[in-house]
C-alpha cells in the first residue's frame, strides 16, 4: 500500500459513513450487506465530517455490565435521527435535549458521537 493510500485511509477513518442503496436510494443504519427496503446488495457509502440529525430521546447510564466502562459512568446516550432518515444510538456530549438539532461525528474509538 502506498503512503498516499494509507494517508487517505487514516483521514477517512474519522469520517462518519452512512450506507445508501445504489438501486433505490434508501439510507440505512446499522450497516448490513443489503438494502432493507428493496433488498438490493448494491450498497454504497456516503462520507462526511459530520452528519446532521435531531435528538429523539436521551438517557444517562449509571450502570454497565462491562468493567471497561465503569470509570466513565455516567455515560449519556441519545437516540438520534439523521436528517437522511436512519436512527442511531450515539454518545451525547453537551446539553442537547430531545427535539434539538445535533451533528454526529465518528470518534477515535470508531463510535458515533452527537453534539
Amino acid at each position: 500500500m502506498s503512503a498516499g493510500a494509507r494517508g487517505r485511509m487514516s483521514a477517512g477513518a474519522r469520517m462518519i459513513r452512512l450506507q445508501r442503496c445504489a438501486a433505490c436510494g434508501t439510507a440505512q443504519y446499522p450497516p448490513r450487506a443489503f438494502c432493507h427496503h428493496c433488498l438490493s446488495d448494491r450498497i454504497g457509502w456516503e462520507e462526511a465530517d459530520a452528519l446532521p440529525g435531531r435528538v429523539l430521546a436521551r438517557t444517562s447510564l449509571h450502570h454497565t455490565h462491562e468493567p471497561r466502562f465503569r470509570a466513565h459512568l455516567p455515560i449519556t446516550l441519545a437516540l438520534v435521527r439523521f436528517d437522511a432518515g436512519p436512527v442511531a444510538v450515539c454518545f451525547l456530549t453537551g446539553t442537547a435535549a430531545p427535539g434539538d438539532a445535533v451533528r454526529v461525528r465518528r470518534n477515535e474509538d470508531d463510535l458515533l458521537e452527537a453534539a
Binding site: Y29, P30, P31, H36, L56, A57, R58, T59, S60, L61, H62, H63, T64, H65, E66, F69, H72, I75, L77, A78, L79, R81, V87, A88, V89, C90, F91, P98, D109, L111
Partner: protein, 389 residues
C-alpha cells in the same frame, strides 16, 4: 381472511422449576426438570409426548434439536422459538395449531435458562448483530439503555411520570406477597421506588428485572384427551403475533399488537372488559403500558391516565401480573416469556394459591420480545378462557 379459531385444543398443567438467583446447573438441567414436572402433572409417560416447543438463551451451543437427544425424546413436531418475551404465547399458538392439524397429540412447551456470574453479560454482548455493533459498544447498558431511550420518549409523548411506572411496580410487589415462587416478596412502597438509585435514566432500580435461573412449562393437547386424562384445561379463544411492526416509527411507542388487536378480540368474540386477569411482559413497567395501549385496554397514549384510574392488585379493578411479574419473580431468561402464560393458566384454572383472583374465568396474556437494536421486535397476545365456561 380471518384466521381459524383454536377450537378443540386446551392448555393444561402449568409448572415451574423454582427460580433461583444463580445456579451451577446448565439450561438443559432446568428444561429437563420442567419436562419431568410436566410428565408428573399430566400423569404421562415421557414417550407420550410427541410434540415439543423449547426456548432458551443459555442452552447454546445447543438448540431444541440437541435437547431431544439429551432427554431421549422422539417428537414428531419440534419448535425452537428464540423469541424472548413473546416465546410463551407463540409456543402456545404453534402447539395448538399442531394439535389441531394432527401433527402432534401432546405438546410439551418449555422455556428455561440458567444464570451465573458471566451468563447475563455474555448474553448481552452477543445478543444480536445490531446490538453487538451499534448498542453494546456504547456503554454496555444492555436492554436497560435501549428501554431507557424508549421510556424517555414515552414520557415526553404521553406525560407519563415515574410515579405511574412505580404504581405498576408497587402493585406487582404486593401481588408477589402471595406467590411463594417469587424471589422478591418484601413490600415495596412508592417512596422506596422513587428513591431508588438510577440505572439508565429515566429507569431506576425497581424498573429493572433481576436476572435469575429457572424454567416454566405447560402442556397442549386436544380437549377430549385432557378430559380422558382428568386434566382441567384452558381454551385459547384468540391469539395473534406480529414481528417488526411499524419499522418506520423512529422510536418505539407502539408494538405489533396495534396491527392485530381487532382480529384478536374478534376471534375471541370478547372485549377487554370481559377479562378478569391481565398478564403482560413486564421487563420494564413502561412496556406494560405499551401493551395496555396496544391491546385496546385504553387508547394510544392514554397509558398514564389508565394506570392512574385502575388498581392492579389481586382484588383491584384490573388484576395485573398477579404473581408479581418478572419485576418481583425474577427474569429467568426465556422463561420470562412463559411466566405470563403460566400465571394466567394458574389463575384461570383456580390454581393460584395465595393470590387467586376471584372468578378468574378469562385472561389476557401478552408477550413482547427481542430488543434486537432500538426496539422489541416480537409482539404476541392470547385470550384464554376456562374450558366449559
Amino acid at each position: 381472511m380471518s384466521a381459524r379459531g383454536y377450537e378443540g385444543v386446551v392448555a393444561c398443567c402449568p409448572v415451574t422449576e423454582p427460580y433461583v438467583r444463580r445456579s451451577d446447573h446448565g439450561a438443559a438441567w432446568f428444561l429437563a426438570a420442567v419436562l419431568r414436572r410436566l410428565c408428573a402433572a399430566g400423569g404421562l409417560a415421557k414417550a407420550a409426548i410427541d410434540g415439543l416447543c423449547v426456548s432458551s438463551f443459555t442452552l447454546a451451543p445447543d438448540t431444541a434439536v440437541a435437547f431431544t437427544q439429551q432427554v431421549a425424546l422422539s417428537p414428531r413436531f419440534l419448535e425452537w422459538l428464540p423469541m424472548g418475551g413473546a416465546c410463551g404465547v407463540i409456543a402456545l399458538r404453534r402447539a395448538a395449531r399442531a394439535v389441531q392439524a394432527g401433527d402432534a397429540e401432546v405438546v410439551a412447551c418449555l422455556a428455561g435458562d440458567t444464570a451465573n456470574a458471566t451468563s447475563f453479560r455474555d448474553l448481552l454482548a452477543g445478543f444480536s448483530s445490531f446490538a453487538r455493533d451499534a448498542v453494546y459498544p456504547y456503554g454496555a447498558g444492555g436492554p436497560n439503555a435501549s428501554f431507557a431511550l424508549i421510556a424517555d420518549a414515552y414520557m415526553r409523548a404521553t406525560g407519563a411520570t415515574r410515579a405511574d411506572f412505580g404504581k405498576l411496580a408497587v402493585a406487582q410487589r404486593a401481588n408477589a406477597a402471595g406467590n411463594p415462587l417469587a424471589l422478591l416478596r418484601e413490600p415495596l412502597s412508592l417512596d422506596q421506588y422513587l428513591a431508588a438509585r438510577p440505572i439508565a435514566e429515566p429507569l431506576h432500580l425497581y424498573d429493572c428485572v433481576m436476572p435469575c435461573a429457572g424454567a416454566d412449562g405447560f402442556l397442549v393437547m386436544a380437549e377430549d384427551r385432557a378430559r380422558r386424562l382428568g386434566l382441567p384445561g384452558v381454551r385459547i379463544l384468540g391469539a395473534i403475533e406480529r414481528h417488526d411492526a411499524f419499522p418506520d416509527d423512529p422510536v418505539q411507542l407502539r408494538g405489533g399488537w396495534a396491527v392485530d388487536r381487532d382480529a384478536l378480540w374478534a376471534q375471541a368474540g370478547l372485549a377487554p372488559r370481559d377479562m378478569q386477569v391481565v398478564q403482560t411482559y413486564d421487563d420494564y413497567p413502561v412496556i406494560s403500558m405499551l401493551q395496555f395501549e396496544g391491546l385496546g385496554l385504553c387508547a394510544p397514549g392514554a397509558g398514564p391516565s389508565f394506570v392512574r384510574d385502575n388498581d392492579f392488585t389481586i382484588a383491584g379493578t384490573l388484576p395485573h401480573n398477579t404473581g408479581g411479574g418478572q419485576l418481583s419473580q425474577g427474569q429467568a431468561g426465556a422463561a420470562g416469556g412463559y411466566l405470563p402464560v403460566v400465571e394466567a393458566l394458574r389463575q384461570v384454572l383456580g390454581q393460584a394459591d395465595g393470590r387467586q383472583v376471584a372468578d378468574a374465568r378469562r385472561a389476557l396474556v401478552s408477550g413482547f420480545g427481542m430488543i434486537n437494536y432500538d426496539r422489541g421486535l416480537c409482539s404476541a397476545a392470547v385470550v384464554l378462557g376456562r374450558a366449559g365456561v
